[in-house]
Amino acid sequence: MDMNIETPEDQNEENSRRVQVRFKTKLKPPQKVPSNSIAIPSNLTRFGLSSVVNNLLQAVNPEWKSEPFDFLINGELVRMSLEQFLLAKGISAEKVLEIEYIKAVAPQKEEEPSLHDDWVSAVDGSNPGFILTGCYDNLGRVWKAGGVCTHILEGHCGAVSSVNIIKSDVCFAACAGLKYVTVATASKDQTLRLWKVCSGSWDCTISLWRTNDSDAAGNQVSIKKRKGNNQVEEPQLEGEAISTLVGHTQCVSSVVWPQQETIYSASWDHSVRTWDVEMGKDLSDIFCGKALNCIDIGGEGSALIAAGGSDPILRIWDPRKPGTSAPVFQFSSHNSWISACKWHNKSWFHLISASYDGKVMLWDLRTAWPLSVIDSHKDKVLCADWWRGDSVISGGVDSKLCVSSGVSIQ
């Protein structure tokens, strides 16, 4: 009789093989499960594993609210059923399998989009206090969380194509709209400071601009804060480029300056070049065969180069790897050009990419599938960045600045 009463689920479990697993984590105690090994059916997927862990946590703490987890076996994220994963990786199911679980990385909520007057061309979220955006209506804007525009930076006569925040209290906007670079910084302490910056341009060169602190003293401008008329009056500071890095044969689409002495640049001539600032020479170049739009440095030891360009593949190179210029990772879930890519500044594994197909994707180096796809834009996404370490901000052709928050990265 007992045999007959068995539910179909039980039968399924009977039919499938069981694997001895032990869950471990680096998470703090309320999320820690007891470390004794248990047997679970091998046909469980990520969802099943997640519910197992949640059940275990509930057994310890009855007030535990279940939340999604991601699972790592030998440093790779599980994206199929456990059995298939073990088969694919050739891992023995005889031994006790150690599965590390981490919090699932996915934006928890979408905040209200901040509307602009025109296309949002650039966004920077390196300051946790505010977001700086550049727009095609020649203005830069400073946003507080929650879609409140605090400042409008005016002064450019062409579309702002790139913005960058340099220090925590200083914001800086560079516009390469019409072949001349305006350097403007504005800060909360109502002083302008000009910093050493670099820029890439359509004339195939990268220019280094020096701006002195000493000049800044004479360029102090007060900000008139009035209701509905937030303006920053700023001077035009035309400086000579102190050095020009020549080597690219086509327009330089993106530059990053992560360290004191090296500059990385991506160009439409299909190459990524590394420059020595002092020498003004290129140290190495990587050719990828596609025109590149964006570049960022980060990841393990802040050495991996991520770049996207005129095809739907996000490529990641490791310049420390000798003798090869083949990318170490290729992520190809996008459908169109990649317009922006950014590493998470704390995590070694996470990066985002924005594409003209209107999607922002969140990637983990440990799996080839995107962790999550943010599909909040209606049209091309032109720029994307991390903000406060747990939000993804992106701007696009639909004139919106979208903020997806609640990304939990340890």
């Binding site: 296309w119 061309s121 095609y136 579309a159 019409l178 072949k179 001349y180 359509w202 086509q250 327009c251 689409s253 439409w268 001539d269 065969g289 596609k290 025109a291 739009n293 005129s310 095809d311 739907p312 169109s336 050009w337 317009s339 003209y356 091309k380 032109l382 052709v397």
Partner: protein, 727 residues
Amino acid sequence: MRERKKSSAVEVSSVKKKKEKKTKDNNEPREQKEKEESQSIMKQQKNTTSRSKKEKQRKTTEDYESLRESELSGDEVHGTDRDVDNADDHHEEDQTDGSEGHRGVEESDSSEDEVAPRNTIGDVPLEWYKDEKHIGYDISGKKITKKERQDKLASFLANVDDSKSWRKIYDEYNDEEVELTKEEIRLVQRLLKGKAPHTDFDQYADYVDWFKYDDALHPLSNAPEPKRRFIPSKWESKKVVQYVRAIRKGLIKFDEPKEEEPKFYLLWGDDSSAAEKAKHLAYIPAPKPKLPGHEESYNPSLEYIPTQEELNSYQLMYEEDRPKFIPRRFTSLRSVPAYENAVKDSFERCMDLYLCPRVRKKRVNIDPETLKPKLPSRKDLKPYPVACYLEYKGHKGAVVSISTEASGQWFASGSTDGTVRIWEVESGRCLRVLEIGEAIQYVAWNPLPELPVLAVSVGQDVLILNTGLGNEEEQRRVKDLLHVETPTAPDDNMASIVSWLQHDKLDGIRLRHFKMVSSVEWHRRGDYLSTVMPAGESRAIFMHQLSKKLSHRIPFKLHGLPVSSVFHPTRSIFFVSTKKNIRVYDLLKQRLIKKLETGLKEVSSIAIHPAGDNLIVGSREGKLCWFDMDLSSKPYRVLKCHPKDITNVAFHRSYPLFASCSDDCTAYVFHGMVYSDLNQNPLIVPLEILRGHTSSNGRGVMDCKFHPRQPWLFTAGADSVIRLYCH
């Protein structure tokens, strides 16, 4: 019969030997002689046939009595083997009759006729009867049974006892023993000695000359022998000399001994083999009818029986496609009905054999793959535009023409909705909209990067517009350049045709022509531009100089409706395409250099390779001609690819690529490599068909242009969308 004869003779000889042994003691020399004789005879017997032996006998007894001879011949006629016995009988008779003479022999001849041979089996080997109980048949057809054979021991004992046993001979044919008489033995002995068989026959009788006559001394003819009998023939020797010379010269060849061909042949070989073909001049074997298979069986396996569905599907087929025979099952062979089509089938077969002309098809055994031109694989020819990633939307009418800026950062497009738009390539943003108000014919961006000026042809006007791009210094220069003073009229004639005016609304110059302008083309220096007016007849093509604000008419006769014009990329050469031909002019020397014959019905567009020696021409019938101007005035290659009109063709500035776009909503991308080695012809490889546009009012893709630096292709569609195809 012969064998029998031999064996009997051997028996005779063996008998004789026995006898010799017996008489050994009596006289040695005689016996010796006999032995030799017998040996020689035995040899003779072995070598010769009985008939020849008989003839020998006859020879030896040449002068035997004639009757005796006739008797022997009578024996021959009978063909029996009794002759020896009979002869012996006769000898006995002779012996008995003594001096009775020839008459007695004659009587015995008749009596011998009466005694027929007992066995009538005729001349057949006796071995045939070896296992039978009888040895043959007598004259009345009864079987002659074999006699009981004595066993060896009994016969030996009998031989020992019987003193006459050595004279007995076994006659196999009649299956009986015959005892020879003493006279017969003597006769045999005489024969063996080579003497005449009868003692009374005189071997050496006197010669009787039967032909003796009196005048035997005289010859029949008394004429002397002619001389020619004794001298060699003159003509013969001449002939011999002739032959000898011919042989020495090698004129006469002696037949070499023919090699014998093997007589065997392939029994199961095909009739239409090569050897067969060689033998017969034009033998074509009739086609063989199909042999019946399993399905023609009266009780085929189930898998051959068509199901009801299949039978129904046969009904839907055409009559000639239907299977001729539908297999059916019968429980036994006798329940199979008569084949109703038997007569029809055989009649058709006969008609096939009779009427069907059989032609030997010369099939050349060539691998079709080898006939294909050896083209490099597409993978090796990367990069080339493959997929569309960006679309530039904003126009409300069909986009007629596009033009890229020299650096590749922007491009301009003109549409039938009366606007010119300037786009940023990278982001797809429309930077500027220039409202012209009339359907645009053509846009052309100045090739100089520092002169961001756009030439737009609208109806009868050509507008030279400032795009507003570039830095301030450039803008200042452009503004200076695009300023026209009050229109001066140096030449009334000229002024009525072309006039330079300042454009009122937009920042630019308006060049007023007297007819519709179809296309505008910039010179590479950016100062000159040419305009084509198809309806302008002798004043169809103008050359304008921007810096001096001057216009010239091209002083050449065109012989046809002009379609478009293009400047040579490096030299001062100018190409004008009319509907059928392309004319190449030297602008410095002011003369016609070449006329290229396209062989097309209507040329629609023309593009020149950046090296300047190759030209592609698109036509309204969908054909694309590649001209190598070093080769000939005929097309080097004609590519028939588009099913509809080709609207435009384009070369890439740096990559070895060219493209054609057509009203069938596709654009084709080709690899067109021109080698600097003059001996090597250009390599043309079709690469990709780019789709994506939709048809609108029967028009598809109106224009295509390559990005100046990237292997990307812009296509302007009648569906008001511009697409960018990237690698």
